[in-house]
């Protein structure tokens, strides 16, 4: 049914399928209104010219795009235009205008010049007809009957079992995605008497060099260590893994500010404390220090830890204190670790206990 609706008689409401009877009878589709472009040849011509002009202007923008592509350079002059490159701006603008003009042109064409008769189509229920359903059921039962799947349970069940078991290879083959966790999460590269060195530069840290209130991002010495041949001891993945667990923060405060926990009496050196930099929430590196309160804030989810009080959580979603690294000083006055962390660093996990 695709007649234009002026030829239609109004649809009368005769108890529709939904049982919804409006209080007012359906007046039927309103009469079609002719557009100015339908009745005035001049206006139609004008619309035609507008549409064509847009298409032609689009071609002009494509040419400008080509010019920009070859004329404008990319690279280190990226700040020359609006902050991120004359080339990007020009290419994006010209391409965008070329596309937009085609789009607007086509829609203008549809609105002004194409037939605007609304047409009516009847709906059909989504369900199949009863005959179709019956036919399907018949065909299905005939097929099943001929296969004998109901009469031969041995065949059916052994097939189901065999296909089901095929899931095993599919799962087992994923086994080599990665090694088992083992006890890897329980230790870091920190070792007894390993020096604490500055982040980025890798220089050892003398106790005398740190003033009260100073915060130092630090790493274990092995991160920067080289062997006899001058190659880094840790490289690639190993290095990344080591850094992601062993990064620490040093903070020097007035020793009288520190609340020393039991068993940690000799973990700090003259008010210098060392804590894991990895948040115990979901593992972001923590870096925002509130100098007055000795509070350390994680920028990801705002967990706040008190470095003057065993790294306890004072605010935010983290549940566990920051692990503390026991410090000592070597003969030259440089800071080093007494041992590895005494607990796993980073986010909690099930087996952690």
């Amino acid at each position: 049914m695709s007649d234009a609706h002026d030829d239609m008689t109004p649809v009368k409401t005769e108890v529709p399928a939904t049982g919804n009877v409006p209080a007012i009878p359906d007046p039927g589709l309103p009469p079609h209104l002719w557009r100015p472009t339908d009745v005035d040849e001049g206006l139609a011509k004008r619309a035609e010219r507008q549409v064509a002009a847009m298409f032609m202007l689009s071609s002009v923008f494509v040419l400008l795009f080509m010019v920009s592509y070859f004329a404008l350079k990319v690279g280190d002059n990226h700040t020359t235009f609006a902050g991120f490159g004359a080339s990007t701006v020009a290419l994006g603008f010209t391409l965008g205008m070329a596309l937009l003009l085609i789009g607007v042109g086509i829609i203008q064409w549809a609105r002004k010049l194409m037939g605007d008769h609304e047409i009516v189509e009847m709906r059909h229920p989504a369900r199949s007809s009863d005959e179709d359903r019956e036919g399907t059921l018949e065909a299905l039962s005939l097929g099943l009957e001929e296969s004998g799947i109901g009469r031969r349970p041995l065949v059916r069940n052994s097939l189901l079992g065999a296909v089901g078991l095929l899931g095993l290879p599919a799962v087992v083959m994923l086994r080599d995605l990665g090694p088992l966790p083992g006890d890897k999460l329980y230790s870091t590269v920190w070792k007894p008497r390993m020096r604490v060195v500055r982040d980025v530069v890798g220089t050892p840290i003398n106790v005398a060099d740190i003033e009260i209130g100073d915060l130092v991002n630090a790493e274990p010495e092995i991160i920067f260590a080289v062997d006899e041949e001058g190659d880094h001891v840790l490289e690639g993945v190993e290095l990344q893994v080591a850094k992601s667990k062993a990064a620490v923060i040093l903070l020097r405060m007035d020793p009288s500010d520190i609340t020393v926990a039991k068993g940690r009496e000799n973990w700090s050196i003259d008010g210098i404390v060392c804590y894991s930099k990895i948040c115990t929430h979901v593992g972001c590196p923590i870096s925002l220090n509130e100098r007055k309160t000795h509070h350390l804030l994680c920028p990801c989810h705002q967990s706040t830890f008190d470095l003057a009080d065993s790294g306890k959580v004072v605010f935010g979603p983290a549940a566990r204190s920051l692990p503390q690294l026991p410090l000592m000083v070597d003969e030259e006055g440089f800071l080093m670790a007494q041992s590895d962390f005494t607990e796993p660093v980073g986010p909690s996990f099930w087996e952690r206990g």
Partner: protein
């Protein structure tokens, strides 16, 4: 309904087609049809009717932005290297020259600075992704608020929800690929999320990262997921979504001549094809201009990923913001029992909550049809006000979402508004529970009062703004009847029936199976429908008109031929009207 068509332009009324000798195109069509037999299908669908309404365009934005994503994404793969192998950057961007970084980051920099149009495509891809997800969400809201999810379209609702979920995951895997400091921080947090899962957490983390975080496998693996696995599923689901749309035929707004049995609109060829096709170019063009003029994700400013570094104000893309907010305001609860640890503080907000919200979303059509017991097909849309509880449920969900989202920016809010981040967090902990309840109640009552307003308009006419003074000196506002079209449109909606569990007792007076569940259904049905204003019956409309006529007669006898108000309602021209009547 006869219209003078004698002056109509020939674009609308051409000569009837006369059979001609088949040309070249005819020969090609014949060749194809003899092999594919598509003429039968094409005959039915070339003039398929699509109703017109601006809100039906929202899903189209999602569709076309997906096409833009496919096109720009293919371009990006030509230069991007999904590898975490370490290289020293030697490209054009000076500040990073000589810095060690992953190949993934180096190739993203190359795309940004050494490939002409590369940065444009990167930014277009990112903007189009944001538009894709935003338009899917708004499209979902439109479908929900208008009741377009009802039978027979529940499955398409489910497919749509899956598309939204997959689109979100696709976005996350996508913005993780450049391996810059910001995206690496996101992956770092994702590792923490996985480890919070009971029993399998560490295993999942080790299997996904190919060992301990960060490993060297995550970028290539995310790449496969991002360019092959999820887009493949997305494409298949989009195809199914569109096929079902065509099969069910689009819903339409009620109105004169628009019923449950028909669909009124423009034919696919030419009008709808032109509008939809033209709209593709518009979406493409807008993404292109955004990609060219609006900076997004300037990865060169963040530097390469380093597990010991982070930037302040680290935030995911906006559509990941709401679970991040939940993560931020969650109290730090952790349980230790039987030698294991369960991190409620991570597991609940980031694993359980999104899963729960998604399940609720998926089940909405089924919950509503269970409560209403409605098994009929619905093709006419409902105005949000005419389903007050449904509308209120979604507004409550939106409020929850919005508050969580705002909580995801608690640090930004604290800095910009000079507030205490602690207080914002404490406030949000309460607000995410109380806010939705308040929003639910306000929305529901608001809808019902809008229904009353509609009923008033229908029975007593619209307010003209004209104050009349009667002979006795009393003042009243003149109401005039609304047009027949508007009146019909207002009444063309369904009456709600409150489900009463008592009616479900069998002939022996015993409760049927599931009595308690039935009671719940009855209470929910009461909440959902009991307070709604039902459309008036024919008798009520009739009675109201009589009442109005009586009032008119009374006034007429008192006032003679004074202005009846039509002159001032803005619907009529007042030229030549005699406002005072002839005396």
């Amino acid at each position: 309904m006869s219209v003078d068509t004698s002056k109509v332009a020939d674009s609308n009324a051409g000569e009837p087609a006369t059979p001609k000798k088949p040309g070249k195109a005819g020969a090609v069509a014949n060749w194809a049809d003899e092999r594919l037999g598509l003429a039968g299908l094409a005959k039915k669908n070339l003039r398929k009717v699509f109703p017109d309404h601006w809100s039906f365009m929202l899903g189209e934005i999602a569709l076309w932005s997906f096409v833009v994503l496919l096109l720009s994404g293919v371009f990006l793969t030509l230069w991007y290297t999904p590898s975490m192998g370490e290289v020293e950057y030697q490209g054009s961007y000076n500040p990073l020259r000589g810095v060690a970084m992953s190949e993934a980051y180096a190739s993203s920099l190359k795309l940004s600075f050494d490939v002409r149009g590369g940065l444009l495509m990167r930014q277009m891809h990112h903007w189009a992704a944001l538009i894709f997800i935003a338009s899917m969400m708004i499209h979902l809201l439109r479908v929900y608020f208008t009741g377009a999810f009802r039978k027979p379209r529940e499955l398409n609702w489910v497919i749509g929800c899956l598309l939204l979920l997959l689109g979100t995951l696709e976005g996350f895997t996508g913005y993780s690929l450049p391996d810059d400091l910001l995206s690496g921080t996101g992956i770092r947090a994702a590792d923490g999320f996985m480890k919070s899962m009971p029993v399998v957490g560490t295993y999942m983390s080790f299997f996904l990262f190919g060992g301990e975080f960060p490993g060297e496998s995550i970028i290539p693996r995310l790449y496969t997921v991002h360019v092959l696995l999820i887009p493949g599923i997305l494409l298949a689901l989009i195809a199914a979504h569109m096929l079902l749309l065509v099969y069910h035929k689009h819903t339409q707004w009620p109105g004169p001549g628009r019923t449950e049995e028909n669909v009124v609109g423009f034919p696919m060829l030419p009008v709808y094809a032109a509008k939809a096709g033209g709209f593709f170019f518009i979406v493409f063009g807008v993404s292109s201009i955004m990609g060219g003029l609006l900076s997004i994700n300037p990865i060169w400013k963040f530097g390469p990923y380093d597990p010991t570094k982070v930037t302040a104000g680290s935030q995911p893309d906006w559509y990941m913001g709401w679970p991040d907010g939940a993560l931020r305001i969650m109290p730090g609860w952790e349980s230790h029992f039987l030698g294991v640890t369960l991190s409620w503080n991570v597991f609940l907000p980031i694993i359980v909550l999104p899963g729960l919200m998604f399940t609720i979303l998926l089940l909405l059509p089924f919950i509503e049809s269970w409560i209403s017991g409605d098994k009929r097909d619905h093709h006419l849309l409902e105005r949000p006000r005419n389903a007050p509880t449904r509308t209120a449920v979604m507004v409550a969900l939106m409020t929850f979402y919005g508050l969580m989202w705002a909580a995801g920016g608690n640090d930004i809010i604290a800095i910009k508004l000079h507030l205490s981040i602690n207080q914002i967090t404490y406030f949000m902990r309460g607000a995410v529970f109380i806010g939705p309840v308040i929003a639910f109640m306000i929305t529901r009552r608001w809808c019902i009062s809008l229904q009353r307003h509609d009923e008033d308009k229908l029975l007593h006419g619209y307010e003209t703004g004209i104050i009349m003074r009667s002979a006795e000196g009393g003042y009243s506002e003149r109401h005039l009847p609304i047009s027949e079209t508007s009146a019909y449109t207002l009444t063309a909606r369904e009456r709600n029936e409150v489900y009463s569990p008592n009616a479900a007792t069998d002939s022996n007076g015993l409760d049927e199976k599931g009595g308690r569940l039935d009671g719940l259904r009855g209470r929910l049905s009461t909440l959902m429908y009991a307070d709604n204003v039902q459309p008036p019956t024919a008798a009520e409309v009739e009675a109201a008109h009589h009442h109005a006529d009586d009032a008119h007669e009374l006034q007429a006898s008192l006032e003679g031929h004074a202005a009846d108000g039509h002159q001032f309602d803005g619907h009529h021209s007042v030229d030549g009207e005699n406002l005072r009547g002839d005396h």
